[in-house]
Amino acid sequence: MAFKQVTSPHAHSAQKTSNVMQLVLLATVPGLVALTWQFGWGSIINVLLASITAVVCEAAIVHLRGRSVAFYVSDYSALVTAVLLGIALPPLAPWWVIVVGTVFSIVIAKQLYGGLGYNPFNPAMVGYVVVLISFPIQMTTWVTPLALLPEGVSHPGLIESLHIVFSGYTPADGVTGATPLDSFKHSSGLLVDQIYQRDPLFAQGIWAGAGWEWVNLGFLLGGLLLIAKRIFTWHGPVGMLGALALMSALFWDSGSSTSPGSPVMHLLSGATMLGAFFILTDPVSSAVSNRGRLIYGILIGLLVFIIRAWGNYPDAVAFAVLLANFAAPFIDNYTLPRTYGHTDRRRATEKEEG
């Protein structure tokens, strides 16, 4: 009798990379539903278009690299990148914006670096930043949230939305508008209270701007689900949200005309929750240890606030995440966990004495 020789352990938990990716996809559903409810069909179209592009690109590149296509595409990682990018892009953006962003994400930011697991930067955010810089007008045109639509105007229907996306047809007036972070950026000279009163975005909202608060709450819900499922630990998101809240509280300046906005607004506006639970938790490009991920999250929180408050762009999650990606290896070097039986934490490059 001859038996197979296999290394231990022989038992494996049932969770595979594809399961992890599927769970992440599932967790985006509440946020995506909120987006669709508040901003119409645009986001769904974004996500679908990005997904198709991503899978096609991934398959093509994997094929070019002479690897097994079925094996790699079935890990769902390209889909996750595409869905996150589709969510991040403005609804009803022209189709070519989405395709260019996705192709850049998958081909340049991911596959050219060696594919899943080898990319130093978050692919979705690389794609996002590329189109943000290249096509600023298309990228800063957001759909008006449901509550603020003028009387008698509604979000374009599915067919009409497709039409807008693919033929460049300009949507009816009043369907596009500023985001809460935009209006804060462009309302210097006004007290925060004044902004809240004058801008219907805030007047109609409960906490942080009509529509946006629901979207953020949706992503928060999905994120909590992922933490409960132990897909990632609390360290990154808590680090980022904590730093963002702390910074905005410190610079709140009791609502003066130079105040960058309240903690609640910062936490529930823009891409905060999407970033905290879906972008910076991308394990490939983040720091490694729990302590490292906490620091990494804090760094992103700080950068998000700094760019939002004093930078040129109204929102900053993409830039903050990319900058923190640069810093991840450096953070790793200083955040080795203390191993059992050792007295000191050390730097990764140091050898223990004796």
Binding site: T7, H10, A11, T17, N19, G117, T339, G341
Partner: protein, 577 residues
């Protein structure tokens, strides 16, 4: 109930322990052949002290301990030694190792043996001797000779004795069933240990809370003995020595140190039973409880198995279905290793034979790329960063691996267990560890070679120099000798009369020394030549007797030797005259 601490990391694989606990510990029919490997423990292999064909009785010593860190082997049953040769053994490599094979005679007749009841009054040294002679090594893990472990030296008094009944690996129930059925004897074994260690302050039996029956079985026996049974939440790997010590005491064994350095000793509970049998009953370690489990065997239960029983014998009596079996594992599903064949024997550390079906342990999926999800770091019980170790293993970056404390990895497999990309992490660590060890050994070897080479060079240079010096000395001497008679005054034109006298005296002294030496040398030459002559003459005589072809050569040699001898004798006469 004493306090317990919680280790970081850990995993909760399905326990699968109930299958083998439905029946009590069974006994198998005597196998036809028993194969006892000589190296079942950490340390030097035992040295056989029997011969092929020799009759042995059950419990008779068949191999002696080779030094202190070694243990003797005993015949597990009576019979005839039928082979002492290399056989496949329980090792992941599937390599052969020296074994003693005994063909059993079916009588199972014991050698005369006697135990001591009054162990309390025996000197610890004497008790340790009994344990060493009984061939007891740790029965839970690596198999370290118990007598060595229990004798840490006087400078390290043992204050805490920890008995490891954790049995955290899934499927294995050998300790659990042994405690249920033999609690009294186990506790007596612990009392013996306590006597050896001069009654430590704390004696803990550490046990996971998934064994309530075992805890209950121990309870009446430990009452009033000072032994506390400490149960703690089930988590793999709580049974690692370092992990258990932390759970029970909150102390960490510093890297590179032993528990004894902190005044602790950790002993497997199966070993305490063996110690009781050795001391009180006088029986050496020749059998142990082994779990046979997995869905590919029809009967899943524990057996009191003789050491040396081939695995095939166990499987044959457990309704083994080879076709349904995905692999045969010695040990548990987390740290056990696959057996190359069923011919390998059960050894002193074999707590389990696991024959899982494909449904239980399917073939491994191909590994996907690491996405650095960090689940492995969450699971690691010693707070390493497994994925970093994995990257550096791939890159063979030994320096970084050591900086990331690769050598603190206990190879528990928790990281591989949770890895969603199915990467065989532990194999990377094992391979890297041995690569680093090899590199270290090679470094030592090459340093040593460099030293030897440099010494060799030095020696050659020195020899050369000496030769050169001699040559110049001789040349000068010759020069002087040729110059002196022709022009004695000019060679030392400015020398005073005293100098000339001194030089003459020195020359005379040198001449006086040489004849003596020459004489001695000549005498030696003569003696040797005489010897050679005798030998040569004998050879010649033989050759003549046999009518050999080389008579002429030999006679020439004899003549030659004789001439040389005569020359030497003549010289000697000349010298002494």
């Amino acid at each position: 109930m004493s306090q317990t601490w919680v280790t970081p990391g850990g995993v909760h694989p399905p326990e699968n322990k109930h299958q083998s606990l439905t029946q009590s510990i069974g006994v198998l029919p005597l196998p036809e052949k028993l194969v006892v490997p000589l190296n079942q423990h950490i340390g030097a292999p035992a040295i056989p002290c029997v011969e092929v064909g020799q009759k042995v009785l059950k419990g008779e010593v068949i191999a002696k301990a080779a030094g202190t860190v070694s243990i003797p082997m005993h015949a597990p049953s009576s019979g005839v030694v039928s082979a002492i040769e290399h056989r496949p053994i329980a090792h992941a490599s599937g390599m052969l190792a020296p074994c003693i094979e005994i063909t059993t005679d079916g009588e199972d007749r014991w050698i005369a043996h006697e135990g001591v009841d009054d162990y309390e009054h025996l000197a610890p040294r004497k008790l340790l001797e009994i344990i060493a002679n009984a061939g007891i090594s740790g029965m839970g893990g690596a198999g370290f000779p118990s007598a060595v472990k229990l004798n840490p030296g006087r400078q390290r008094p043992i204050l805490t004795l920890i008995v490891n009944a954790t049995e955290c690996e899934p499927y294995i129930t050998a300790d659990d069933s042994a405690i249920r059925e033999r609690a009294a004897e186990i506790v007596e074994g612990i009392k013996i240990l306590s006597a050896i260690l001069d009654h430590p302050d704390n004696i803990f039996i550490g046990i996971e809370d998934n064994k309530p029956e075992a805890i209950e079985a121990l309870a009446p026996h430990v009452e009033g003995t000072g032994i506390s049974v400490v149960s703690f939440p089930t988590k793999y790997p709580s049974g690692g020595e370092k992990q258990l010590i932390y759970i029970l005491t909150g102390k960490e064994i510093p890297s590179g140190k032993l528990p004894a350095d902190l005044g602790m000793v950790c002993i497997n509970i199966g070993t305490t039973y063996a110690i009781k049998r050795a001391v009180v009953n006088g029986e050496p370690l020749i059998s142990r409880v082994t779990t046979v489990t997995g869905d590919a065997v029809g009967v899943q239960r524990n057996y009191e198995t003789l050491i040396g029983t081939p695995v095939s014998h166990l499987l044959a009596h457990s309704a083994f279905d080879e076709k349904a079996c995905s692999r045969v594992i010695m040990g548990g599903p987390m740290m056990g290793f696959t057996l190359p064949s069923a011919d390998v024997p059960i050894v002193k550390t074999t707590n389990c034979i696991l024959a899982p079906s494909y449904a239980e342990i399917p073939d491994d999926e191909p590994a996907q790329p690491c996405i650095r999800c960090g689940m492995c770091a969450e699971a690691c019980p010693v707070s390493l960063l497994p994925q970093q170790l994995f990257w550096y293993s791939q890159a063979q970056d030994h320096e970084r691996l050591e900086a990331h404390n690769l050598f603190d990895c206990i190879e528990c497999g928790a990281c591989s267990y949770v890895c969603p990309s199915n990467i065989p992490l532990v194999q990377y660590y094992r391979a890297s560890k041995s690569e680093i060890r090899k590199a270290r050994a090679e470094k030592v070897k090459s340093d040593h070679a460099r030293e030897r080479f440099e010494f060799h060079k030095l020696r050659m240079e020195q020899a050369e120099r000496e030769k050169e010096e001699k040559r110049t000395a001789r040349r000068e001497a010759a020069l002087q000798a040729s110059a002196a008679p022709s022009n004695p005054s000019s060679s030392v034109p400015s020398s005073s009369a005293a100098d000339i006298i001194a030089a003459a005296q020195a020359r005379a002294a040198a001449k006086q020394a040489t004849p003596e030496q020459q004489q001695a040398q000549l005498e030696r030459t003569i003696a040797a030549a005489e010897q050679r002559l005798i030998v040569a003459e004998q050879k010649l005589a033989e050759a003549i007797e046999k009518g050999s072809a080389n008579q002429s050569v030999l006679s020439a040699a004899v003549e030659n030797t004789r001439q040389k001898l005569e020359q030497a004798k003549a010289k000697l006469a000349e010298l002494t005259a």
